[in-house]
């Protein structure tokens, strides 16, 4: 876990937010997928929050409440979500965006680490025989659009 302060969070606040983020996106049981706090997603959250005064107020109020909890775990955060829903409403989208838009997390879900252009993905075109076989039942049933009364299609 990063042990540093961010531009507008103290080291204590940073530790607190990292532990909250670890609960929001926890690591997988086998450790293959890291938790959000340990990955440093708080840096992304800090950047976005610093750009928005409204976010800053909500997040700093939320952190103040979190600091008073009896530890950071699922049960305490579930209670906090009930008392401070706006904190979660701001935090969740930021954490999800920060976490899943990274080149190091994309491959964990099957996507390329690289930007999608120029390489894209290899999807082979279906051979004509396969498409013919798949569409055969549809063709066999015949036309399925209505003619108009004047017969003009």
């Amino acid at each position: 876990m990063p042990e540093h302060a961010t531009p507008f969070w103290s080291a204590d606040e940073r530790r607190l937010i990292d532990s909250i983020l670890d609960q929001i996106i926890p690591a997988s049981a086998d450790g293959r997928v890291p938790a959000a706090g340990s990955l440093g997603v708080a840096d992304f959250v800090a950047e976005r929050v610093s750009e928005d005064a409204g976010y800053q107020a909500v997040v700093s109020d939320g952190l103040a409440l979190a600091a008073g909890l009896d530890g950071i775990n699922t049960a305490t955060l579930e209670r906090l979500e009930i008392t401070a829903p706006e904190f979660f409403a701001v935090l969740l989208p930021l954490v999800y965006k920060g976490y899943y838009s990274r080149p190091d997390t994309r491959p964990l879900f099957g996507l390329s680490a690289k930007p999608v252009h120029p390489d894209g993905y290899d999807v082979p075109g279906e051979p004509a025989e396969l498409i013919n076989a798949l569409t055969a039942p549809v063709r066999t049933r015949g036309n399925c659009f209505r003619d108009t009364p004047d017969g003009r299609r």
């Binding site: 609960q23 929001i24 996106i25 926890p26 997988s28 997928v33 699922t74 955060l77 579930e78 979660f88 969740l92 989208p93 954490v95 999800y96 965006k97 976490y99 899943y100 838009s101 990274r102 080149p103 997390t105 994309r106 879900f109 099957g110 996507l111 930007p115 999608v116 252009h117 120029p118 390489d119 894209g120 993905y121 290899d122 999807v123 082979p124 075109g125 279906e126 396969l130 498409i131 798949l134 569409t135 039942p137 549809v138 063709r139 049933r141 015949g142 036309n143 399925c144 659009f145 209505r146 003619d147 108009t148 009364p149 004047d150 003009r152 299609r153």
Partner: protein, 541 residues
């Protein structure tokens, strides 16, 4: 400032503006297009950036209220469950559209005669057919010939791969004996005309950096400029001017610095889309037209139609790799498209197999949806055990025209030039709600027949609710018709009230069909161009 007069002034350089310019270019008339946006180049598309997906929630959002770029105008959609989305640039909304390219059907033009609802169009499928065909070639459409849901036609390029997702769902439809077909798309399946084929990147909504998707900044504007059409960017039209005789004389527009210019023209063509066009007409008040230009019928802004969507997601046993391939559609079922008197609704809907979201989009609730999935242990379960295995079907319904669904002018909100912004008042219709219920049940049936283990409620936006940012298709707000008392333009796009004013975008649709509209918008614009040329000697009579 006053500029040299031109013969034809087109407002808007998107899908319809480019198509009408294409049609008129061989007349050798002096054609000028004014576009409020700018050129956008492939190097600026986010899909080449490391964090490319974040752009979807910021500067490349489909929602102009989120983007808030200088060329955008705000839209007040507080009184609508669906918010209009667009892009304002050379290319218009084809910059970020998804290129799904179904045509409307013969029955779509005859809803009143066949089903006793809405109105018949003054044109029909047979009239538009050659223009669909011509337009498919200009755009470079890919698809499979022989679709029994349409009169025979052949897309110019072979279909794009339907992929594992499409093949799986196709088998489900076959099991049930239902129609499906590989989707037509305005996306290249092979290199053509200097554009590269699709690389299956899946980010069509962020602009296609491969140039495979047919956006009109690539397919039309380079040729039009070479042929002498003038395109002035950063030019936002404030008002269409009329003379003492009630004919259009030109426009007032702001340049990038806000300076006001007058541009005179013999003929004005409006191509600002189903929201921008009624906004401009309503902003063009004069002593001849105190309620807005060409609005003696009172129909300008009325009958707004979207295609409300909902959807259903199934979880399969194998990964579906839904993030690979063009975003919009792999296959399309039109089994429930036509009216069936045994159902409790008229008209119908399509089942679209949109590709599935990437992890960011899925975690945030789906494309165009703000409804993040849960955090904690449930988050882990959904990302590991659900997300990779999902495939969905989107229920895309026909929206019937209803006068209370409308674009008006917001009394307070303006764009950066102080021009009043549009306000949307819209309610999803009863008929549509019945279609949702029917369509969601059928979609679930198809997914199970395709081998889904279960239907999941957390399907990346496909949770039975109307998608908010689904106002992609904007139609009906200046509709066509024979009767000047109930319509704004005649059967070839000329305003009943102002004989040198034409409208060529989705505003003139009489009904919406249940398919994406742009192939029809452009076919109609080409048809209007052709009619202008045919009637040139008596054009303003």
């Amino acid at each position: 400032m006053l500029n040299q007069p031109v013969d034809v002034l087109i407002i808007g350089a998107g899908a319809s503006g480019a198509a009408i310019a294409w049609s008129l270019v061989d007349t050798r008339m002096h054609i000028l297009c004014l576009e409020q946006g700018d050129w956008i180049f492939d190097k600026d598309f986010p899909s080449r950036d490391q964090d490319y997906e974040l752009a979807r929630y910021g500067k490349f959002s489909c929602d102009p209220n989120v983007r808030g770029l200088p060329q955008d105008y705000p839209i007040n959609a507080d009184d609508s469950p669906i918010t209009p989305v667009n892009y304002n640039a050379v290319g218009g909304s084809t910059i970020n559209y998804l290129g799904h390219w179904p045509r409307m059907k013969p029955s779509d033009f005859r809803a009143r005669t066949l089903d006793g609802v809405a109105e018949d169009w003054p044109v029909d499928y047979a009239t538009l057919e050659p223009f669909y065909e011509m337009n498919d070639r200009i755009m470079g459409v890919s698809g499979l010939a022989g679709n029994p849901a349409y009169p025979a036609y052949s897309p110019p390029n072979p279909p794009i791969p339907i992929g594992k997702l499409g093949q799986t769902l196709a088998k489900g439809f076959n099991t049930l004996g239902w129609h499906w077909w590989p989707s037509d798309v305005a996306i290249l399946s092979r290199d053509d005309d200097g554009r590269a084929k699709c690389v299956n990147a899946g980010t069509c909504d962020l602009g296609c950096a491969a140039g495979a998707k047919a956006s009109v900044d690539l397919t039309h504007w380079p040729m039009l400029l070479r042929s002498g059409v003038e395109l002035r960017t950063g030019a936002r039209v404030r008002e269409i001017l009329v003379g003492d005789d009630g004919m259009a004389t030109g426009v007032l527009y702001h340049d990038r610095d806000g300076t006001l210019h007058e541009q005179r023209a013999e003929m004005v063509v409006v191509a600002c889309n189903g929201i921008g066009t009624p906004r401009l007409l309503l902003n063009s008040k004069s002593k001849h037209f105190p309620d807005g230009l060409a609005n003696s019928s009172g129909m300008v802004g009325k009958n707004l139609m979207f295609h409300p969507l909902s959807g259903v997601t199934g979880r399969f046993d194998e990964p579906m790799e839904g993030f690979k391939g063009p975003f919009a559609c792999s296959i399309l079922s039109q089994e429930f498209y036509e009216t069936d008197p045994s159902r409790d609704f008229v008209r119908g809907y399509g089942l679209h197999s949109g590709r599935v979201a990437t992890p960011v989009t899925y975690a945030l609730g789906g494309y165009g949806v703000d409804n993040p999935i849960p955090w904690g242990a449930e988050h882990r379960r959904r990302m590991d055990d659900v997300y990779p295995y999902i495939a969905g079907l989107t229920v895309v319904t026909e929206d019937l025209p209803e006068e209370h669904n409308a674009v008006t002018l917001d009394p307070n909100l303006t764009d950066s030039d102080g021009i009043p912004a549009p306000k949307i008042t819209y309610k999803v219709g009863e008929n549509t709600l019945k279609m949702f219920a029917h369509g969601e049940a059928r979609a679930a049936e198809a997914l199970m027949a395709a081998g889904a283990r279960e239907i999941v409620a957390d399907g990346g936006g496909r949770d039975g609710k109307v998608w908010r940012r689904a106002g992609w298709h904007q139609m009906g707000t200046a509709r066509m018709g024979h009767d000047p008392a109930t319509s704004v333009v005649n059967g070839w796009g000329r305003c009943h009230d102002v004989k040198n004013l034409f409208i060529v975008d989705g505003s003139i649709f009489v009904t919406a069909g249940a398919v994406n509209p742009t192939s029809t918008i452009q076919a109609l614009a080409l048809y209007i161009g052709d009619s202008i040329k045919t009637n040139i000697a008596t054009l303003f009579d």
